[in-house]
């Protein structure tokens, strides 16, 4: 049996959303949806797993805290200890209140930048990355639903038309 890929093209995000719900209710797996902008509630309708971005943010924050501490420890204790306003310069712990703003900024810096970078890489938006979208119009005003079908595709095509797809394309894989 051959595997074909179906592209259902929609004009309106509300129609697309209800179509996604209906098709998934019939136990047909949707491979991907392409849209020019984020659609509220689409992630739930597609049954996507919850994002793990928050966990990465926490890890990056901890990394920032660790590296920031090491940096300050090296600068203020080892490389160039200074007597600033009579504050104890021989001890990291006793000087800690003065270092907190720097550590805080390091946490924010690492969490924010590494999160953005992770997000971009995860979405394939790195230099030299190629667009996955099978139809250029999804960057303008069309919404596209991608379904992989084994064997006969007529039922799914009918369902797409019934739920509001304005155009259906097929590609043999």
């Amino acid at each position: 049996m051959s595997t074909n890929t179906l592209y259902g093209i929609f004009d309106d995000e509300e129609v697309l959303l209800s179509s996604v719900k209906e098709i998934r209710a019939n136990n047909i797996e949707i491979k991907e949806v392409y849209s020019p902008f984020p659609i509220h509630g689409l992630d739930k309708a597609l049954g996507l797993k919850e994002t793990r971005m928050a966990i990465t943010a926490f890890i990056y924050g901890c990394l920032g805290l660790t590296l920031g501490s090491l940096m300050i420890y090296y600068m203020m204790q080892i490389d160039w200890p200074q007597n600033i306003g009579g504050k104890p310069n021989w001890s990291f712990y006793h000087n800690l209140p003065a270092f907190v703003p720097v550590l805080f900024e390091c946490v924010v810096l690492f969490a924010a930048h590494l999160m953005s970078i992770t997000y971009l890489i995860r979405n394939g938006l790195y230099p030299g990355g190629k667009s996955d979208s099978p139809d250029e119009r999804t960057t303008d005003d069309k919404f596209l639903m991608e379904i992989q079908v084994e064997g006969d595709a007529t039922i799914i095509k009918e369902m797409l038309t019934k739920t509001g797809a304005t155009e259906i394309n097929e590609k043999e894989a």
Binding site: H40, G41, A54, F58, G85, G86, K87, P97, A98, P101
Partner: protein, 396 residues
């Protein structure tokens, strides 16, 4: 409609009875130590009830739609404002006349501004134009009367909206709220200088108004959250969904961090510059055995606990977790309020005993009773608010 169930009523009555016993016991055995206990408890609960007004005003000014389904809750917490305002005014008037052995404010001591007297204090005498008994009472009365006026007006408009419909009372609420915001921005800071900062009259901190506001915000949001969860558990507020609770949880988390941020800003600048007239405030707390533990302990539960237990999204949607953290935040800020007042008034002799805890519990009973009583007066669901539908479909 909400009806107070027997259990809640009995509990609040029992708490108020404990409070009354503690108050009488305190004033009979040691009035000098009881006034500060009364002051910091009033500060704490007055903060919760005035913050409810701020919360309602903030929703109107920012045209926020999410909170409409639970807006009766802060409106009911406002119901406790007149009582706590009255207690605060009573304490201030008693302080200026030294009624019942009230010596909370050092600068109100007799002869302290008089060059001929033995008690003469040149620095405090220089502050006389602001720190004098008449102006002190006048200021306190103005804050309290106007806060109560705005609370009453916002509540009346909200009820009027239910009955009349239309957008007239909504837009009136928006402009009323805007005026309240402007007034509260100035008076909340001034009230914090008057009631709390002037206890340590030689000392001053320019961030103090924000510090007190952040504390009131943290405990205010926590209280709104707790009452909402209670009503939900009782089977009321059917329109409040997980997202509303999540949003309130975010506020609690955020303002716990804001409080810490300001706490630390004040602490670090004073610690770093190490000027004698400033640093005495912290030595009075950190070099005294019975305050030192509470100082770090309250910091720990007001900051570390929420940041560990409330950071993730799932935690803010877990009612058990929210209740656990909320109760600890309230305890932590209660201890912090204690530390704001006690070292300046009782020097090194302060301790948390039956009087302090008893009055705290009594006021908690008073707050619970007045809030539930106010809730029972009006239907629990607001209708006719222009953004009601948006609030019902909140989804984050």
């Amino acid at each position: 409609m909400f009806t107070i169930d027997k259990k809640a009523k009995n509990l609040s009555m029992a708490l108020m009875a404990i409070g009354l016993v503690a108050l009488i016991f305190g004033f009979v055995s040691n009035p000098h130590d009881t006034w500060p206990a009364l002051l910091f408890n009033t500060y704490f609960y007055l903060g919760i009830s005035v913050f409810a007004v701020f919360f309602v005003a903030m929703q109107y000014v920012s045209e926020a739609g999410w909170s409409i389904v639970l807006k009766r809750v802060p409106e009911a917490i406002m119901g406790a404002l007149p009582v706590f305002s009255f207690i605060m005014l009573f304490i201030i008037v008693a302080a200026t006349s030294h009624f019942g052995g009230n010596h909370i404010y050092h600068w109100l001591q007799e002869g302290i501004m008089d060059p001929a007297s033995d008690h003469y204090d040149k620095i405090l005498a220089g502050k006389e134009p602001y720190l004098n008994a008449t102006f002190f009472i006048a200021r306190t009365s103005i804050y309290l009367i106007i806060w109560n006026y705005f609370a009453e007006k916002l509540r009346k408009l909200s009820i009027l909206e239910d009955k009349q419909g239309g957008t007239g009372s909504h837009f009136k609420s928006v402009s009323t709220s805007a005026w309240f915001m402007v007034f509260f921005a100035v008076t909340s800071a001034m009230a914090s200088w008057d009631w709390i900062m002037s206890i340590d009259a030689h000392w001053f901190s320019t961030i103090f108004g924000w510090y007190v506001f952040a504390e009131w915000a943290a405990i205010g949001f926590t209280t709104i959250l707790l009452f909402t969860l209670y009503l939900q558990r009782q089977g009321y507020l059917k329109d409040v969904n997980e997202s509303h609770i999540h949003d309130l949880g975010k506020w609690v988390f955020a303002f716990s961090l804001v409080w810490t941020y300001i706490w630390f800003s004040q602490f670090m600048l004073i610690w770093y510059s190490n000027i004698p007239e400033e640093v005495t405030y912290y030595t009075a707390r950190l070099e005294v055995e019975n305050y030192k533990f509470l100082f770090w302990f309250s910091m720990l539960i007001n900051f570390i606990l929420p940041i560990i237990l409330l950071m993730s999204r799932d935690a803010k949607r877990n009612n058990g977790r929210l209740i656990f953290v909320s109760i600890f935040i309230l305890i932590g800020h209660w201890l912090n309020s204690y530390l704001l007042v006690t070292p300046g008034t009782l020097n090194t002799h302060g301790h948390i005993g039956f009087t302090e805890v008893g009055i705290g519990l009594g006021f908690a009973g008073l707050l619970i009773y007045l809030t539930l009583y106010t809730l029972a007066k009006e239907p629990l669901e607001a209708k006719n608010h222009p953004m009601l539908d948006e609030s019902k479909h909140l989804h984050t």
